[in-house]
């Protein structure tokens, strides 16, 4: 059976696409799938450092497309997780080095080699975005609970629908305490405004920074809340769509629990 191509996109930069692509990829590989993650940010690659594979790059996606190497030669095997491969972006080419028809060809090949191919889409709605969605079967749209990120997500969702792709939403960098205080949009607010299916909720988590520092997979950090949320997202994305979404919450002390019970109906 042919594999799936899933694009991780957002419109706005810095909302967590690369972190989420690396983590979902790792989680799916740990679930036994053969997974490739592809850095689509030509000229500004990042996925390699997040995964700790920056020292092992020989060939890149542009080399594959221009016929200088085979997919197998460019795909870097992860150090810790079996069945997880990275196809890095080129750092020296510009965005026009790849055309949509090249991606249609590449994705056709990827479907034969991998169960799941995740595309880490660059920010914006130009060529890099077009290349990332042209052959995608599914899309994960990432946003943070901020006006600008949600607005950009709305634009992206419109463009995905125009390609007949029904996106699923991940809200990242949630700070439960701020949501509780009414100082951050809740995921309900975001979903209401975007009217799109929710895939998962990830809270702001220091482990993300630590694991990015060291280039180690976040999903292997048992204690990381973001890591746990991402493992569940991977399950919901592949094979377990009905797994309940966990809502990030403040670790409450007894007194806080009691007081919130009394003020709930406000």
């Amino acid at each position: 059976m042919d594999g799936k191509i899933i694009v991780v996109t957002s419109g706005k930069g810095g909302v967590g696409k690369t972190t989420i692509t690396a983590s979902i990829g790792a989680a799916l590989a740990l679930q036994g799938k053969r997974v490739a993650v592809v850095d689509m940010d030509i000229g500004l690659r990042n996925l390699d450092v997040v995964m700790g594979l920056e020292n092992r790059i020989v060939f890149n996606i542009v080399d594959i497309i221009q016929g200088r190497c085979k997919i197998k030669q460019a795909a870097i095997k992860d150090r810790r997780i079996d069945n997880l491969y990275l196809i890095p972006a080129s750092q020296s080419d510009d965005k026009n080095a790849i055309k949509p028809e090249n991606m249609v060809w590449l994705c056709g090949k990827m479907r034969k080699e991998f169960d799941i191919t995740l595309l880490d889409c660059p920010a914006g709605i130009e060529q890099g975005f077009r290349n990332s969605i042209v052959a995608a079967d599914e899309a994960v749209v990432v946003c943070t609970p901020e006006v600008s990120a949600v607005r950009d997500a709305d634009r992206i969702i419109g463009l995905l629908y125009a390609q007949s792709i029904t996106p699923k939403l991940v809200v990242n960098r949630i700070v439960p305490k701020m949501v509780e205080n009414g100082d951050m949009l809740s995921h309900e607010d975001v979903v209401e405004v975007l009217s799109v299916d929710l895939l998962g909720l990830i809270e702001m988590d220091e482990y993300v920074v630590v694991s990015t520092n060291t280039g180690t997979p976040l999903v292997l950090q048992e204690e990381s809340k973001a890591g746990k949320a991402l493992r569940r997202i991977a399950l919901r994305l592949d094979g377990h769509p009905d797994l309940p979404i966990e809502n990030p919450m403040i670790q409450k002390t007894f007194w806080k629990k009691l007081s919130s019970k009394f003020s709930r109906k406000n």
Binding site: P145, R151, L185, S259
Partner: protein
């Protein structure tokens, strides 16, 4: 709810997330109304064609625009009428078969 946010509520200050949500809804609405000049031109052409079936209008003094305000947004089309078009009684579709009948066509 924290003491801080409770105090804010008592003092009648809206939660900042509600401000965010309202701004967001408005931004999305105006984004969607941001139509291309050509789209409005096409719409104007189609409207003239339809309205002309019913009224004789001054095609040169027509205006079409999208107006936005905090409360609502509207498509505003204005066209001076010269006269009602009294020939409109017979729909075009019903006339067609007569012209197409073999007797008339040769």
């Amino acid at each position: 709810m924290s003491l801080n946010s409770l105090l804010k509520k008592i003092m009648g200050k809206p939660a900042s997330k509600d401000v965010a949500k309202n701004r967001l809804k408005f931004a999305l609405l105006t984004d969607k109304l941001d139509v291309k000049k050509e789209t409005l031109k096409d719409l104007q052409k189609d409207l003239i064609e339809i309205i002309s079936r019913y009224f004789e209008i001054d095609k040169d003094s027509i205006s079409i625009d999208i107006q936005r305000s905090e409360e609502c947004s509207a498509l505003v089309f204005s066209s001076p009428i010269i006269s009602a078009n009294h020939n409109r009684g017979v729909p075009a579709a019903k006339i067609m078969p007569v012209h197409k009948s073999p007797a008339n066509s040769v």
